[in-house]
Subunit: 325 residues, 3 copies
């Protein structure tokens, strides 16, 4: 997976000196200790630490990488405040995230996001995108800034691709939307303007097939990923931050919530749903219409809602039948 350049997709609106960024969220600050002096120009996650960045820390974690001259950790109330070189404790992390990100970045859920397009063969293609000449794009598509498309890929018609890196030999079918906004916000504070800015991307690896009318949401900070050779049917929704391994097969109308991690060689039937933040192992088979609510171990076959071992599920059905009629 690539370490992408965020500003290709989300231009920096303004750099903030670590000592001045406070002005954006000062009413939220409960504690602060800043030892270094640098210009903040990116956002880190625990997966990818970037220099001169802010890292929003959701839970107490003493990680050497965060004890760093170039990182500003913004967090909720935690015990070990002295561990970090640059730390701010705030009373509402989601709101602070929104205030900082909306001030630092241009993004599409805010007025004024800028892009410039060429109209090529019936589709709008950003001047700031990089598309291999060997790839083909149908009609009525929109390819926005920063998007990269590798070799020999086919983008069909009425497809929207934003904030994404697409590999080689990828097919994206009609009316699909790739790189759309993740459904992330503080559940207690609703309204379009309180969406957490989603400044990550979608990365679709080589030889992936994506059906018609699918949606793949971009990540909050890093990426939503679909691994090599994966076959995605129509009307599949893939939530933000979700990672799907190689050789997945996902049938129609399945929905995968945000931050799910799926291993390699997984086969998923139609209309399956996944709770967020769970982990599915390698070689797992999930029967159609299952509702997966917990982690699933490698090599399991599951069915039902909540999804359980398919043999147990079948036994339950037989038992119900016996008593039922």
């Amino acid at each position: 997976m690539k370490f992408f350049k965020r500003s290709n997709f989300f231009p920096l609106k303004k750099k903030y000196n670590i000592n001045h960024i406070n002005s954006l969220f000062k009413e939220r600050i409960a504690f602060q200790n800043i030892e270094n002096d640098f210009d903040v120009n990116d956002i880190s996650s625990l997966k990818f630490i970037r220099n001169n960045s802010i890292l929003f820390l959701e839970e107490e974690l003493n990680d050497k990488r965060l004890k760093n001259d170039n990182i500003h950790v913004i967090t909720k109330n935690i015990n070990n405040k002295n561990y970090y070189k640059n730390i701010t404790v705030v009373d509402n992390l989601s709101d602070t995230y929104n205030k900082i990100l909306n001030s630092m970045y241009f993004h599409e859920d805010q007025l004024g996001f800028q892009d410039e397009f060429n109209y090529i063969n019936g589709s709008y293609v950003s001047k700031y995108s990089k598309i291999s000449n060997s790839s083909e794009i149908g009609k009525n598509c929109l390819i926005s800034r920063g998007v990269e498309i590798g070799n020999n890929s086919i983008i069909k018609n009425n497809v929207v691709i934003k904030n994404s890196i697409i590999g080689n030999n990828v097919i994206v079918s009609d009316n699909s939307s790739i790189g759309t906004t993740g459904f992330g916000f503080d559940f207690n504070i609703r309204g379009s303007q309180f969406l957490n800015p989603q400044i990550g991307i979608v990365f679709i690896d080589d030889n992936v097939h994506i059906g018609a009318s699918c949606t793949v949401d971009r990540a909050k900070i890093d990426y939503t990923y679909i691994g090599k050779n994966s076959m995605i049917d129509n009307m599949v929704h893939i939530g933000h931050n979700t990672i799907i391994g190689n050789n997945a097969c996902i049938a129609a109308q399945t929905g995968i919530s945000g931050s799910v991690i799926i291993g390699d060689n997984v086969t998923i039937g139609g209309k399956v749903g996944f709770a967020g933040h769970i982990k599915i192992g390698d070689n797992v088979v999930i029967a159609a219409r299952s509702g997966v609510t917990k982690n699933i171990k490698d090599n399991s076959t599951v069915a039902g809602f909540p999804a359980i071992d398919i043999n147990k599920w079948k036994k339950n059905l037989i038992r119900q039948k016996r008593y039922g009629h």
Copy 2:
């Protein structure tokens, strides 16, 4: 909610004098008593009575507002025929509705619906729409006649908006369709030409976020409504006449049938389905994958299909587990 001007969206094809409109459906008439003389120029519902209109009455109801010099009640066989000033009893209300509406109004499910468009920045925008200059529209969109869009709203790409009033600070994401035709017809008479003309609108209130690949059907006569600050994820379908309160949160792939009434502050998980014509109270939480078949009281938390109190649902699961393996 606004009392919208129907002809902004559905131009009148022809006004009919109350005494002449009979010609459209005379083979259906079983009884008629017309005391007044006026030109019919609108259609009423029990919610909004309009002057000089027809009201199609599905069930016997003695309501003073219908005992009116300016209303023509068309109904099935009822007992109290003398109650109304202008009444017609017909043997098939759906067919009569179709005959009258198709003759009175231009609408998009009939050939010859007229609109005129400007091609602005890559999208088709009706000359008969009203869009605030402070709002932004992406590429490959279609905004049709009568549509109003308030301030600071963002319509992304490949979005279709018809027959709708959109408030301020609303976001509609890629490939969504707003104001589409409600799935309404006499179940015993099928075929595209027997669709009941849907001459209502969609009203999306301020600060609503609508995800990608959603569909919101316009109402039959009044409106389908989404209340302030509501957050709608991707691939959500909202049926015609449905009313959703403020601060709703609705996760991906949920489908809400027609004529559902949902209160304020409701949280609905992914892949939930709703039967039509039910009422969901305020502050209700509905777990993912639930199938809601009945009214739900305020402050309830439900799960399962048919959806029941979540604690009962969990007990059922535990019991099944115990007996099952």
Copy 3:
């Protein structure tokens, strides 16, 4: 149902003499006996035998139509090899199919598919399509080569129609995709380039209504069919090769897998799912949220997952309730 001309949709890339086509898949050949000499110019199915064609036979079948001077049967290992005049046994039928079809036909899941468009009233319409003047097409649509649209049909906005024959008085609503690629491939060999070429079409018969954001996949070799007067709601997915009879009513978010056969006058609720390759009789009613896994007899009413007789399903529910709380 019409016997369509395949090359209208999928131009022949190259004709192969039956004795030379071997070069495409020689490493797969286990046995071969060719008695005739002709140029292969089409593909047959067991439903429609075409002259000078190849028929890929999945299972042993002695059918007089295949004992023919103009047919080349390519199959897996079978017992009665001497029955056919022209037969090749291969070790991998799916891969052989891919190799032959990708060499013989241009199709949209391969680079270099050619079409030429006129931009008419805001939509791209292939020069090789045939659309009745009495039909209307909205904005931002794509109608590709070979498509035929009958009289008085309405294609709304942002609709993609490919590889399809559309009858009279058909309505296709916004953001739907008709004629998209069937989800067919050898489950053991994944990746976009291993999709089985889908060189069939979609045939939508007269008076059908298709809602918004639907997908109808074209057949592998013959057609996916929707019968007269059928009413399809929003976000319905119909898989490849599926046949739906007349007067169907299918509510929103239902998904029908590939190769399902559905009779006449069927009523299907919302969010129903179907396993592939099953047969549903006439006059069947399927309750919302059902998962249909087996054939259903004429005149049945079913519910649940797996779908069973609705009265049994209701009894089960009552029993669960009694024991549950």
